[in-house]
């Protein structure tokens, strides 16, 4: 949209990763036409106050687009409750097939969108092209299962998440949680291990699929912009690891992860000059670092 000449405002989040509703309200302008919010954040799992945002936007007659890709199957997603006008969903995040997603488009009040794919006018002209029936059926079945097992999955996953968090916290010092713990899906745990660089820790956690920052940006060397948005120092942003817990994660896997994390963080800290300085009581912010 910016490329087409629209002005966009990007809102900062609070230290816990949540949108400040007053700041959100203040950012609305008489000529605002659309707002887009991530229901559940992909890096830190925080759940935004969607009902409040939806109500505010409806009052101002502003279209509300919701990216619910990370929310579906983890929290109740009800387009009426949050008054979403447009909502994006993806199949592979709910154990469905890759390569299929869905866009909800509200009929009342009607939302008109312009087609991005042109051709035979399928899907009421919104998305031309032959439909991949097997993908659609696969995503539909996955969505059905996700909703059915949401409660039991969440309960079990929360227990595993707490086990992982408590296990790591009791074994490793100087660990920081990124993002609010209350308004958060239990499937995500994002931790910063101070004085250890994230990519080197990923390399050490062989056999466990974790990421530093988001998978989308793993090719870049920049620290996570999400963590920087929380006001984390660059050093802590570089030291972050995202753990994802899913429907098929077991307690044994959690325990193995705790063991591995504790031993590898210890090993990498032995290697870290920053850890040594920390133990000597040197404040890293007081050091004049040589630029490169």
């Amino acid at each position: 949209m910016e490329r087409e000449g629209f002005e966009c405002t990007y809102l900062e989040v609070q230290e816990n990763g949540l949108v400040d509703l007053d700041a959100f309200r203040a950012a609305l302008r008489p000529d605002t036409i659309l707002a887009s919010v991530l229901f559940v954040n992909n890096e830190i799992g925080v759940i935004q106050p969607m009902e409040e945002i939806g109500k505010m936007l409806r009052e101002h007659k502003i279209l509300f687009h919701v990216d619910a890709v990370q929310a579906l199957g983890k929290v109740p997603v009800d387009v009426e409750a949050i008054q979403a006008d447009l909502m994006s969903l993806s199949g592979h995040k709910i154990y469905g097939p890759k390569g299929i997603g869905a866009l909800y488009v509200r009929r009342k009040p009607r939302v008109r969108i312009e087609a991005q794919i042109h051709g035979g006018g399928h899907e009421r002209g919104m998305r031309s092209g032959t439909l991949p029936t097997h993908q659609i059926v696969g995503m539909g079945a996955a969505a059905e299962l996700a909703v059915q097992s949401m409660e039991s999955d969440s309960r079990r996953i929360r227990q595993l998440r707490d086990r992982l968090l408590n296990g790591i916290m009791s074994r490793v010092e100087e660990v920081y949680i990124n993002g609010d713990m209350e308004h958060r899906v239990p499937h995500n745990l994002n931790l910063s291990f101070a004085f250890v660089e994230g990519e080197s820790l990923i390399m050490a956690l062989k056999g466990i699929a974790v990421s530093s920052g988001s998978a989308c940006t793993s090719a870049s060397l920049e620290p996570s912009y999400v963590l920087r948005a929380l006001g984390k120092s660059d050093e802590l942003a570089h030291s972050s690891i995202r753990f994802g817990i899913g429907r098929y994660t077991t307690e044994e896997e959690i325990d193995e992860t705790i063991e591995l994390v504790a031993s590898k963080v210890g090993k990498l800290r032995e290697l870290s000059p920053l850890w040594e300085m920390h133990l000597e009581g040197i404040d890293l912010n007081s050091v004049q670092w040589a630029a490169h």
Partner: protein
């Protein structure tokens, strides 16, 4: 990120990890990089009376390639004179470890660390010998 076997070997079995006391005679310390950039290397050399680097140690905060680059240079500088060690080029480090383009900066940092350690040693020993002549 696909790492070469050499990077993985140095990462899993880093050589010469540790520290010398900074004030110890014959020790030069170089620390380069910054936490905010995601890598900090500290390289220390111990120089004997003949001007030969007889020992080296490192500690590095950074990715696998940064750890491997600093581990490798501790091996390379040992047994070299200061002038010989000054000749080590980042391109040689990158070539030896088969670093991918996005990791070349790790080898640059390792070269900088050698130079910084030698400079520190020269400054310290220069100050000592200057003091001795008085």
């Amino acid at each position: 990120m696909a790492y070469s076997e050499k990077v993985i070997d140095h990462y899993e079995n880093p050589r010469n990890v540790g520290s010398f006391a900074k004030e110890e005679a014959g020790v030069g310390t170089g620390m380069v990089g910054a936490p905010a950039c995601g890598d900090v290397m500290r390289l220390q050399i111990k120089v004997n009376e003949q001007g030969i680097i007889e020992d080296a140690k490192f500690k590095t905060y950074g990715c696998g390639s940064a750890i491997a680059s600093s581990s490798l240079v501790t091996e390379w500088v040992k047994g070299k004179s200061l002038d010989e060690a000054m000749q080590i080029k980042n391109s040689q480090i990158a070539e030896e470890l088969e670093l991918p383009p996005v990791k070349i900066h790790c080898s640059v940092l390792a070269e900088d660390a050698i130079k910084a350690a030698i400079e520190d040693y020269r400054k310290k020993s220069g100050a000592v010998s200057a003091a001795e002549t008085h």
